[in-house]
């Protein structure tokens, strides 16, 4: 199914006007969804209806796992009189991912509107917006936008005369990748060391300060007003069937026009590379592609033929949608060097809580460094693969998996390149 992307009209990042200005956003139809919901909350837009609408729209989380957002909201227990929270995850530290930044900069109110609707439907008292610490300017944009929304009466006490109170706080991260993991994000918000929590209990049962909490990606929440404005049925028709809606593709690497592009899901990867991003730079050939942030399994050029950017198609191809932060590597890329750099990142960012990840990431990096320096032996490759099995699925959070997958898949898919860099470790005796 080809998508008529040339005539696609962007929704998350609309053209024209400075949308950081709340007046301009309202002029473009902003906060219309919020007003409709709050006006008709007794009749049409009860909390259940909002959740069902998002569920039927098929909106899947844009943070990497691709879980149905409406379904996630429905996991919140019945209110017991205590506080409930919505946390918006804008930590965005996965290498190759830089989409939320665009929302903060070019359409912050869309996200705020979505977050308020989300908070309304799960009956949250407050929204915490967790933004990675390196995004200094973007944190300022968000703080300004939140202040404007408060002034306009969309946030705070008695929103639009509805009697509902929702507060929003912008929180700056302190530079740890692990704080993008939802449970360590909560620890970090609570002022503690960013260690992931053991699940169960899940955040919906015991989240922030032990209270029910839902954590959504910034982009997921920004999709909510779009769903309510166009209707779930129409939204579900956009892009891939099982993974609908507009997506911000962050395209980086060896292309002529890297950047963030908004298109529906299900775009052909080849379309994205050659037509959207202007092809590989210097007319080189494509070698490989990391489709959704550095932890998603790498795909060889011959594996992406006919593959489109949605969960199902990518799973069949042997990878994942992730955050749709695509890294494109041309034929000159040294895969050993590339993998070493990724391993270095995960070693640096492992929080050190669980043994397999703490020790495994460092070990992977050390072996890869040895291979990169030309001192590697063939047996090191098998050891690397062995270590990835020792790490996968044996830790509290998924960082060990995220560190192990690139190693496993890069080696299995580019084994010849690695072998070419290694000395023999077994010699024939004749």
């Amino acid at each position: 199914m080809a998508i008529d992307f040339q005539n696609y009209k962007t929704l998350i990042i609309p053209q024209g006007g400075n949308l950081r200005d709340i007046k301009a956003y309202e002029k473009q139809g902003g906060y219309k969804a919020l007003k409709t919901v709050f006006d008709a909350r007794e009749s049409a837009w009860t909390r259940e209806n909002v959740i069902n609408e998002v569920k039927t729209a098929g909106l899947r989380g844009r943070g990497g796992a691709g879980f149905n957002t409406g379904l996630k909201w429905s996991f919140m227990p019945k209110p017991d009189g205590g506080k409930r929270y919505l946390a918006a995850n804008g930590d965005e530290s996965e290498p190759g991912t830089f989409k939320d930044r665009v929302i903060f900069e070019f359409n912050p109110h869309l996200f705020i509107e979505g977050a308020i609707i989300g908070a309304y439907s799960i009956q949250a008292d407050a929204v915490y917006v967790y933004i990675r610490g390196e995004y200094r300017s973007w944190i300022r944009f968000m703080e300004q936008a939140v202040a404007d929304a408060y002034k306009a009466g969309y946030l705070g006490k008695n929103i639009l005369g509805s009697g509902i109170n929702i507060d929003m706080y912008v929180h700056s991260g302190a530079g740890a990748y692990i704080c993008g993991e939802e449970s360590s994000l909560m620890e970090s918000l609570e002022g503690k060391r960013g260690y992931p929590r053991v699940k169960p209990p899940f955040p919906a049962q015991r989240g922030l300060w032990g209270r029910p909490t839902t954590i959504n990606n910034i982009e997921s929440l920004a999709n909510v007003p779009l769903i309510l404005n166009m209707g779930a049925a129409k939204y579900a028709e956009m892009g891939a069937k099982t993974h609908p809606g507009p997506v911000l593709y962050g395209i980086s690497g060896h292309v002529n026009r890297p950047g963030v592009y908004e298109f529906p899901t299900g775009m052909l990867i080849t379309d994205l590379i050659y037509n959207v991003a202007g092809g590989i730079r210097n007319g080189k050939k494509l070698k490989a592609l990391v489709p959704g942030g550095s932890s998603t399994p790498i795909l060889r050029a011959d594996q992406i033929e006919g593959v489109s950017m949605d969960a199902d198609s990518l799973r069949t191809a042997g990878s994942m949608m992730g955050t749709a932060g695509m890294s494109i590597l041309d034929e000159d890329t040294d895969m050993v060097d590339f993998l070493y750099r990724i391993s270095h990142f995960y070693h640096h960012e492992s929080c050190g809580q669980c043994t397999p990840c703490r020790e495994g990431t460092g070990w992977l990096e050390k072996i890869l460094k040895k291979i990169k320096n030309g001192d590697g032996e063939m047996r090191d490759l098998d050891l690397l693969l062995d270590l990835t099995t020792q790490m996968e699925g044996r830790t509290v959070c998924a960082l060990a998996d995220a560190a192990a997958w690139p190693v496993r898949h890069t080696i299995t898919r580019f084994r010849d390149e690695f072998e070419a860099r290694c000395r023999k470790s077994v010699f024939a005796i004749a």
Binding site: A176, R193, C351, T355, G362, K366, I367, R394, V396
Partner: protein, 577 residues
């Protein structure tokens, strides 16, 4: 009753809980590092991974799915689960290393990872011999390591606080110490710093780890990362023998173990007693080893020309007899002590009242505000309650001064009256002062006769704590007159059992020439035409329980099996009512 199947064996349980403690409580083994029964569960060491499956519930038929043999269909979790964090549920199937190759492999893998950056310095590490990592590596670990690189270097020999030393390289980041300061001592002094394989526990910048309970972190550290400053490099674990005992430095009666080598108590560690101290003990109590070893009175001493000189036991007995004969027994002040055991106080009182002296009294040692509501008490003596229950009159400082002024002979059991400023040298001048004590102190200096008695580490005797619980000690050190070989209650260490007489680790120099109070007074009794014959503390306690109501029905066996016995005092009656 719900059941759980572990390695093909069926068990039933009535109280819901986690899988790991259930396995351990039922005598099975499963390796772990970060789990501790009294702390929260972070599941971070990943050593207790097991295969876990649950029966499949069929909503349509509202029953469990069964296969053709009528057995419940078990669906296993795709990943290995940590037994420490997994709640038990009815019909759950658990496969440990006993029945699962996958689990055996995972245990090897995790241990290989832990050892990647753990220094292999067991030969010089204090923890060796009692190190869970060492033990579990031998039992479940891989044969070797495939790690060929330089290990991560971290700070070593860091004096975290006055009593705790950190070797960060040995740390395996189980966070037990951190959780202890957060959950038990509540000082929040420790936290993990840095990230990934560079992390280790530390205090905030410039802050000392001076928690009153800091040494418990050394006990619960599963490796040699945290060590006790004054025990470091003193002894290997297998050279010591371990004897259960009771803390005698305050009124809580914390259960401890004494670690003895060559008749020196080298360290005290807490012993688990859920009714008293759980797994913990205060740092100040660990200082008690000095009381047992240092400055001990050995052989009786008698004052000649203002100087105390050593004398014989016979001379000591004769001197006491002569003192008693030369004075009106009504003028003898008999002072018991909360620092001595129930048995000692009882015999002391029995002996002197039989001679016509007044009933023994004592001066409670309570320091207001010294307690913290946890394991430290205002009461500084281990047996204040015991003295009360024996019916001793409790003096205030003032009434004691008055009583002292009236007396011509003062017989004191183990109470440092001068050191506590209950009396000074002038008060004692002109009086005949006999001191029964364990350690040299300012009081013993002023005595005409000093009788050395055994301390809590040298005899079996019982103490009643502030909550009315009577608990007892065991003889841990030999005196000149006792022997490990003949006293079957004394524990023997590896060297005691397998050493030879040519071994030079064992000497006689640390044996103290002292006697239990009951033994000394029993020997003295015939000289004063008394009948008193006790050989052991056990016999004394039998006499106590048959003659004092509060102690009725109490004996050593009961104390041993029930981890101490709560005596029926007015306060404890009130609590149970």
């Amino acid at each position: 009753m719900p059941e759980i199947i572990i390695d093909d064996k069926k068990f039933t349980y009535d109280t819901p809980g986690k899988v790991l403690p259930f396995i351990l409580d039922h005598g099975m083994d499963l390796p772990f590092f970060c789990y501790h029964p009294s702390l929260s569960i972070p599941a971070n060491c990943r050593q207790c991974l097991v295969e876990i499956g649950t029966p499949v519930f069929d909503r349509a038929t509202n029953s469990f799915k069964t296969d053709e043999n009528g057995e419940k269909v078990i669906q296993f979790f795709p990943k290995l689960m940590t037994a420490c964090s997994q709640d038990m549920s009815d019909g759950m199937v658990v496969k440990t290393h006993v029945s699962s190759e996958k689990v055996r492999r995972a245990q090897k893998d995790t241990l290989e990872f832990i050892l990647v950056n753990h220094p292999l310095d067991c030969p010089i590490c204090d923890q060796a011999g009692e190190c869970p990592l060492q033990i579990q590596t031998y039992k479940y670990g891989p044969e070797g390591s495939r790690f060929e690189y330089k290990k991560v270097h971290k700070p070593k020999r860091i004096q975290l606080g006055p009593r705790v030393v950190l070797d960060a390289e040995r740390c395996i980041n189980c966070t037990r110490c951190v959780r202890f300061t957060h959950e038990i001592s509540k000082t929040y002094q420790l936290s993990i710093v840095s990230r990934g394989d560079k992390n280790y526990p530390s205090t905030a910048n410039g802050k000392e780890f001076d928690d009153a309970y800091s040494l418990n972190t050394v006990d619960i550290c599963p490796v040699g990362a945290l060590t006790q400053a004054d025990f470091r490099f003193k002894a290997r674990v297998w050279e010591m023998n371990q004897t259960p005992s009771i803390d005698i430095t305050n009124g809580k009666g914390t259960n401890v173990d004494l670690w003895v080598r060559d008749n020196l108590v080298l360290r005290l560690t807490p012993r688990h007693n859920p009714h008293v101290n759980d797994y913990w003990m205060p740092d100040s109590s660990r200082e008690a080893y000095r009381l047992f070893n240092e400055n001990r009175i050995s052989r009786p001493e008698i004052k000649l020309d203002k100087e105390l000189v050593k004398t014989s036991w016979n001379n000591a007995k004769e001197t006491i007899a002569e003192i008693i004969e030369a004075h009106d027994t009504k003028e003898v002040l008999v002072l018991g002590s909360g620092y001595a055991s129930v048995e000692e106080n009882f015999v002391f009182n029995q002996f002197f009242t039989a001679l016509g002296c007044g009933k023994a009294s004592f001066v409670p040692h309570v320091v207001e505000g010294a307690g913290d509501g946890f394991l430290l008490t205002d009461d500084q003596a281990p047996n204040t309650k015991g003295c009360e229950l024996l019916g001793f009159r409790a003096h205030t400082n003032r009434t004691f001064k008055n009583a002292l002024a009236k007396a011509t002979v003062v017989v004191v059991l183990a109470e440092d009256i001068v050191g506590r400023e209950l009396a000074n040298a002038e008060d004692l001048a002109g009086k005949t002062f006999v001191y029964f004590g364990t350690n040299n102190n300012t009081t013993s200096k002023d005595a005409q006769l000093v009788v050395p008695i055994t301390c809590a580490a040298e005899h079996a005797a019982s103490y009643v704590n502030v909550d009315g619980r009577i608990q007892r000690t065991f003889a841990a050190k030999e005196t000149v007159y006792t022997s490990r070989a003949t006293n079957l209650e004394m524990s023997t260490g590896r060297l005691d059992r397998f050493g030879t007489k040519f071994d030079n680790w064992r000497t006689d120099k640390n044996k103290v020439d002292c006697l239990p109070v009951w033994e000394f007074l029993s020997e003295l009794a015939p000289r004063l035409n008394q009948t008193l014959s006790y050989e052991t503390g056990k016999e004394v306690l039998t006499a106590v329980s048959s003659s004092v109501d509060a102690f009725a029905g109490v004996d050593y066996d009961k104390m041993d099996t029930e981890m101490g016995v709560v005596l029926s005092t007015p306060e404890t009656e009130e609590k149970t009512a």
